[in-house]
């Protein structure tokens, strides 16, 4: 088969499907956001940017934006902080390869779970009456903590689950990276009487700056898709204290009267934000890996 035909035959189907679906959803979202469709009635008419105007006057939308932003920050920073600290701790404390592998396996387990399963597991653990966590807290004499029912705590409680899955996973990645760093600079530093922590702060971690930033950015994009976790754990509640943008969009589009057009408007905004962040991510990652 000639080169030209081969290239075409292999690329065309995949790209065609991807483009078609992507186009359909984007065009569809734009189209519907300009209408006032609901799932209840088939009648609809063109309303221009009405949906967007309503969106910008919608306090619940702003709440969702705020919650999403908070969620992003907590999960990204949390995951990376945990990952870095844990990777350094493990590499320093455990020298034998066997034990390191055992620990790696342990740390990999949480991320392999489906989000839904992780949600279930921790809902169980957080339960005020039946959960392990409250049992342990009870041992210290403090009262049961309503992790998922307290509006102040709920977001952090759910974020903790996210960090549990991703932070430990990233720790394994960073651990592997630390292991593959060239030994010579570290040995030179040791000959200069640098302490363990100085070595990490000034040499190994800066050397890993590229991958750490990449991981942070990957996490940032991944955190935007946290619907599964939050939906199962709290459904957006209590109240709207854990309602991120995609949750709100879902509620609006599917639950509360199926106001698809309104939901589409939100979806478009989310799409734009995601693409912008992703474009930034892409450029950054490129410079670090080149």
């Amino acid at each position: 088969m000639s080169r030209q035909r081969f290239v075409f035959a292999t690329l065309a189907p995949a790209i065609a499907i991807l483009a078609a679906i992507a186009l359909a959803s984007t065009a569809g979202a734009v189209w519907f956001s300009l209408m006032n469709r609901t799932l209840r009635s088939p009648a609809y008419k063109f309303v221009g940017i009405y949906n967007f105007e309503r969106l910008f006057r919608d306090p619940r939308f702003y709440n969702a934006l705020e919650i999403s932003a908070l969620w992003e920050m907590i999960t990204v920073v949390g995951a990376l902080a945990v990952a870095t600290a844990l990777a350094v701790l493990t590499v320093e404390t455990v020298k034998s390869a066997l034990w390191r592998n055992v620990i790696s396996f342990a740390f990999l387990a949480p991320v392999l779970l489906p989000r839904v399963a992780a949600a279930f597991i921790w809902r169980f653990l957080y339960s005020p009456s039946l959960g392990l966590v409250n049992y342990l807290i009870g041992l210290t004499g403090a009262g049961p903590v309503e992790f998922l029912a307290d509006p102040h705590l709920a977001l952090y409680a759910v974020a903790a689950v996210d960090i549990w899955q991703w932070g430990l996973f990233f720790a394994v990645i960073l651990m592997k990276l630390l292991e593959t760093l060239p030994r010579e600079p570290l040995e030179a530093a040791m000959l200069d009487h640098a302490s363990r922590w100085e070595i990490h702060a000034y040499i190994t971690l800066p050397m890993l700056r590229g991958p750490i930033v990449s991981l942070a950015l990957v996490k940032a994009v991944e955190s935007l898709r946290s619907f599964d976790l939050i939906f199962v754990m709290t459904g957006g509640g209590p109240g709207v204290s854990t309602e991120t943008l995609d949750l709100y969009a879902y509620q609006v589009g599917v639950n509360l009267g199926g106001r698809i057009s309104y939901a589409s408007a939100m979806a478009i905004l989310l799409l734009i934000v995601t693409n912008v962040i992703f474009a930034i991510v892409w450029r950054r990652v490129k410079t670090w890996t080149v």
Binding site: F6, T93, P114, V116, L132, A249
Partner: protein, 271 residues
Amino acid sequence: MDGIIGRSLARVLLALLVFVAIVPIAWTALGAFKQLKDIVTPVPKLLFSPTLTNFVTILENPSIRDGLKNSAIVVSVSVLIGTLLGVPAAYTVSRRLRHWRDDMQFFVLSLRFMPPVAVAMPFIVIYLDLGVYDTLGGLIVVYLVTTISTIVWLAVPAFDRVPREIEEAATMEGCGEAEVFWRFSLPIAAPSLFGALVFTFVLVWNELLLALTLAARNATLPVVAASITSLGKEVPWGVINAATVVLVMPPLIFIGLLMGLLNAMVGARSN
């Protein structure tokens, strides 16, 4: 931080964290075998008489069984099509598209990271209008975006790692384009490709939002599982735990089966 005390403290901390990683999962698995009364105790019980009733309830529940079946169909088909289309495409991107490679990867990745909401909302309406709402086929089509883009994204680096010179040597022995791909690049990249396949399978298996919005009645397993929790006050924790275990099992089995298959294939080839 050096010194004996520092070191043992670090060890304890590490052990604690390993604990935190494993215990929740183990605890749930344990809970799946407990009767309700053993779960509802204020002091967590480690010793109890195990029972399989939770699993029985789960597996006898028709919606769970349907959910399992639907998940199996939807995920397998979309991953299969995704592989058939995605792997050759990834090879071409890796080998032949010198100039557009980065743009291709950007395109593919941006689709991979597209928020599911943005896909779900418009497609609800599209499918309703087309009359294919709530069908497995409709769900498969939408999942193709995820499977194709994920497989391409992960397969391109796999093909990058196949040394160019090996493909050149094959070309010099007379092999055409398709033959080099089929006989050399593919077998050599196979282990990494396999990883991509498994990752994609697990990804789509666990997918909730799209399934929830587009196939409420022909629900896949995650949807069914999610709906169990919104059952009234008497939350059947034992059943839920069992459901969680059931939820996790198929991907694990799939991974296990494929690993066995791959080992058998690699073993057979070297004979």
